[in-house]
Symmetry: C2
Subunit: 211 residues, 2 copies
């Protein structure tokens, strides 16, 4: 007789047990309540207790990002894996979720700028940037380019930046630069770790308290 | 005077340096050449040397998946973050990339099955399953349900399964079950680690040798 696998099939029960496990195992004591739920969801997305050691919020970032999202801030993403992952029902203000990477102007702009398409795509954010929440989960060049755009005092200011590019070249450096410049309230995952899943988790946690 | 950040802006140079760093730091000796490039790209996506310790291929999986993709196998994904991340120009046979999670039938099917939407969505894969490459990067329930579908000898067989669901409830167990059942050539990341970025990296590496 065939033995079928048995397993937990209730989505909410899976979330509840996952989040309880994370809260049992992770070192969350240094986070405010606003930050803690974000760190927990990021650990959940990565499947990695210990990630919290690398998560850094500037003072008030979580509150600022929540307020902006609640007020309808657009969410500007550097990659489609980020924009696709954001759970639309968690966006109470039906916020726009924007990724400009596949805009037909981007390849030409990248060539002209001598930069990556990920960086060039941000030039198309300018008219949405004021008061937005920026979610960079892939490209260090995008985060570096954003910081250089914000060196210009006339560049519109986002309400908050989630800076979680991943990898081995520029990721650590771009995130350190973000926290040093701190043009607006920001959060990062220090070092090489980061990526779209972690970034999406941060947006989803800041958009809604629902677990 | 404003100091702009300077950083590597050449995409290919960033890849080259990243992959060289990974090959210097990671323990890749136990992989075949077919597997090594997959493990390297997965480490790259995760920003995590050490991930390779958890990567397991069944004998011949990498070859089987490459052959299937080269021959035009559809790629069946459990989440849009997976299907969106797959780099289309790497698919030499213009392979279909399919995610059925948002099909309007799924919520009703999930309710009837008493399972998650992620698991229910796989029932809509049946007519594409034969010879496909399956990429599960999110939901343990999807992987468990696939294994139960494949208990039926009349269920069509994929050519290969990439089983990398992530998290704290069922992820480890579903991946262990995949390698124990081994219905077709398969690969996993053991334990809690996994996720869409790592899964996409595996697909992209199996689709093209280009680094």
């Amino acid at each position: 007789m065939t033995e079928f696998h048995t397993y937990e099939t209730n989505g909410q029960a899976i979330y509840d047990e996952s989040f309880a496990t994370i809260r049992r195992e992770a070192n969350l004591g240094r986070f405010t309540k606003d930050e803690e739920v974000v760190a927990v969801r990021m650990i959940h997305a990565a499947g990695m207790v210990g990630l919290e050691e690398h998560v850094v919020f500037s003072d008030g970032m979580a509150k600022a990002a929540r307020a902006a999202l609640a007020a309808g801030a657009p969410i500007l993403c550097d990659a489609y894996m980020v924009s696709e992952g954001i759970t639309r029902p968690r966006l109470a203000a039906n916020n726009e979720v924007i990724c400009t990477l596949r805009d037909e102007r981007v390849p030409g702009m990248a060539k002209e700028m001598g930069n990556t398409r990920s960086a060039a795509a941000l030039e198309l954010w300018r008219d949405k940037l004021e008061g937005s929440v920026v979610a960079i989960g892939n490209a260090p060049t995008a985060l570096f380019h954003l910081l250089n755009m914000l060196k210009d005092p006339s560049c519109p200011r986002p309400a908050a930046i989630i800076g979680c590019p991943v990898g081995f070249v520029g990721a650590m450096e771009s995130k350190d630069a973000l926290m040093e410049d701190l043009p607006v309230p920001s959060m990062i995952v220090k070092g090489r770790l980061g990526g779209s899943a972690i970034t999406v988790a941060a947006v989803n946690a800041l958009a809604s308290w629902k677990e």
